[in-house]
Every structure is written in structure tokens, then in C-alpha cells.
Symmetry: C2
């Protein structure tokens, strides 16, 4: 016997199943929850998502999500304008801001080069980065320490270095609070290689 699911429930579950990391079980659970909510709350939920999507735009300068033409960070007078930290996604900007200690600007690529997935230099915000380098002294490549992240950092580094701009890369090493015995070989080798004097 096949699974019995009512039409409204199937429709709601189908929507949630579109979300990344949401499997069919979770989607059904969320759908049940949604169908048990008062109708006005479901409307509010739906309207706010559409409103968020409609109001979002990319900052003219750093390409991060914002409501304005220029995002809060780019328009902040107190931040140094000669340093740009290049990241894959808006999530990474949040991570750096949460960590604190960086007062330069950002540039959000909205993706990483990935020839296997058909993502080329035209698909991510590299052009926009090159266009804003006139007064910049240092570009910090802060893409993830993965194959795609490394390749993208290398690619962009090769474009920028000839302009006489310093290009740096985030340090590899042991994560704080971790244990040596659980570190993978590459991390351990890099941590040894990049050891610093005490």
C-alpha cells in the first residue's frame, strides 16, 4: 500500500523538501506544523519571506546582501578602505564580524570557481572585485580551505598581484580548542610548516 498523505499536506511538504538539508521526513514534519498554525500566521510567514526576497539587493560595492545601494559596512566611515577581505558568501562576512578584529572592507564572491559544476570566473563576482581595487593595498583571500576555495584564491591572486597589490591568504593551522590527535594530516603538516616563534 502506498503512503496516504492528504493533498494540502503533500503540497506543503513539497515546498519544505525544496530547502537544502531538508529531507522528506523533516519536510512532512514542518508541513504538519504549518497546517496546524492559524491561517494568518502562515500568511505572515509566507509574506515575510517574499518581502525579504524582494527587499534584498547586492551592495553596489562589496556585493553583500543589503537593503540599501551601499551596505552598512561599505558606508561605515570608521573602517579602513585599503583592505579587502574576499569571501565566498554573506555567511562568511557574518562570521568575521562576529569574531571581530577586522576593520577593513569585504568582497562577496557569491560562489567559488568549480569547473566540475560549470562555475567559471564569469559566474562569480570577480569582475566587481577587480573594479574596486584602485586605492586598495591588501586583498585577503578568505575563501574556505577546500579544493574550490584554494583554486579560487589562487586564480584571483594571479589576477591581482600584477597590479602591485599585496595578496594574502588566511592561515592554515590547528583550530583553537582542538586536539592534535584528531587533526588531519594536511592540517598538521601546515600547522608545523607555518609555526611561529613564541
Amino acid at each position: 500500500m502506498s503512503e496516504y498523505v492528504s493533498v494540502p499536506l503533500a503540497l506543503a511538504a513539497e515546498q519544505f523538501a525544496k530547502l537544502p538539508g531538508v529531507g522528506i521526513k523533516t519536510a512532512q514534519r514542518l508541513a504538519y506544523y504549518m497546517l496546524n498554525l492559524p491561517e494568518n500566521e502562515v500568511k505572515e510567514f509566507a509574506d515575510n519571506l517574499v518581502k525579504a526576497r524582494q527587499s534584498v539587493r547586492l551592495c553596489r560595492c562589496c556585493q553583500n546582501f543589503t537593503e540599501q545601494e551601499l551596505c552598512e559596512i561599505c558606508s561605515d566611515e570608521n573602517r579602513r578602505k585599503d583592505q579587502i577581505c574576499v569571501v565566498e558568501s554573506p555567511k562568511d562576512v557574518s562570521a568575521f564580524e562576529r569574531a571581530g578584529g577586522y576593520d577593513g572592507l569585504y568582497h562577496v564572491l557569491h560562489g567559488l570557481l568549480s569547473p566540475m559544476d560549470g562555475v567559471t570566473a564569469e559566474d562569480i563576482k570577480i569582475k566587481e572585485l577587480l573594479a574596486r581595487l584602485s586605492d586598495v593595498k591588501e586583498v585577503i583571500m578568505a575563501t574556505n580551505p577546500t579544493v574550490e576555495g584554494e583554486a579560487t584564491a589562487m586564480y584571483i591572486g594571479r589576477l591581482i598581484k600584477p597590479m602591485g597589490i599585496k595578496v594574502t591568504r588566511l592561515a592554515y593551522g590547528l583550530p583553537a580548542g582542538s586536539a592534535l590527535e584528531f587533526a588531519d594530516d594536511v592540517t598538521l603538516a601546515k600547522a608545523l610548516e607555518n609555526r611561529s616563534e613564541l
Copy 2:
């Protein structure tokens, strides 16, 4: 420094964080995904949720979710009408239908008695169950084997038995494919007590 999140992103994340089992990290991840979708897809997502909620109603007979006045199961001529399987939620109906082997009707309580949470007999669909027992021979209490599930089964059983209707309860025992050593004491004791002849 506090976390930097743009307004549209915060708005979208806030919506997802309302969902059960979705923490702030997951909500942000889903919000990023949503803001990267084309606007028409976000609209479709939102519209379908509202549509699902608007079209859903409770079956006049069994109280399960449906689009019609009478759900597919209640209006199915091939199912026996003298057996009612009482469950907590529409999820449980799906589970039984998926497992197969049951061809009677259901009754969805939409909750379990829980005095601690202020859920009394008036808050769940007990009245509606009592109103449909005229030609019923057996009521199978299929609430979860938890404190609330047991209490609800006992309570309803006590109401129905005086009407001369057979009231049964799902069997306790070892789940198929499990191992004795991992079974809890109550389950093991029940499995021993309810042993059957080979």
C-alpha cells in the same frame, strides 16, 4: 562586535526560526538559500504554503487532514466501517497506511491528554470520536507508548467500554530488527509478558 546581518536576511531567518526543530544557524542557512533564489520561486514557495493551509480542513468523520468534506479513507467503500484506529496525529495515519495491513477507519485526536500542558479532553477530538461509534465493533487505541499516550488510551477506553464496544491497545514488544541488549527494561518485560507460542 555584534553579528552583522542585513535586514532582509534577518527577516527571512526569523521566519524559519519559528519552525519546530530549526535553530538559529539552520534558519540563517535557509534564509541565505531563499534570498539567492529567483524572486518568482520564493513567491511560489510562499503561495503554495498559504494555499495548502487554506485548502486544508478536517474530515467530518475521522478529523484527519483533507481537502474534501469526507477524506479518502472514510469515503473508501472497500474499507470496513466497524473498526476505528484512534491515533494522535495525521502522521500516524500515514505510518499505518505505509505499513499496510489495516483496512478499517481511523480517528485523529490532534493531541494527547496532558494536564501538565493544560490539554484536557475538550481540547482533543474525543467528542467527535464518541459521536461516530454507533456501528463500530472495535476501537483500537493506537496512541504512542508514552505517559500521555497511555493516559489518553486509558481515558478513552473507560468512556467507550461501557457502550459494549471492544477496546484494544497496540502490542508492546521488541521492535523488528532490534537487539535484545539495547531494549529498555519496560519493553523487555512487556515482550516477555506478551510472548506468543511458536
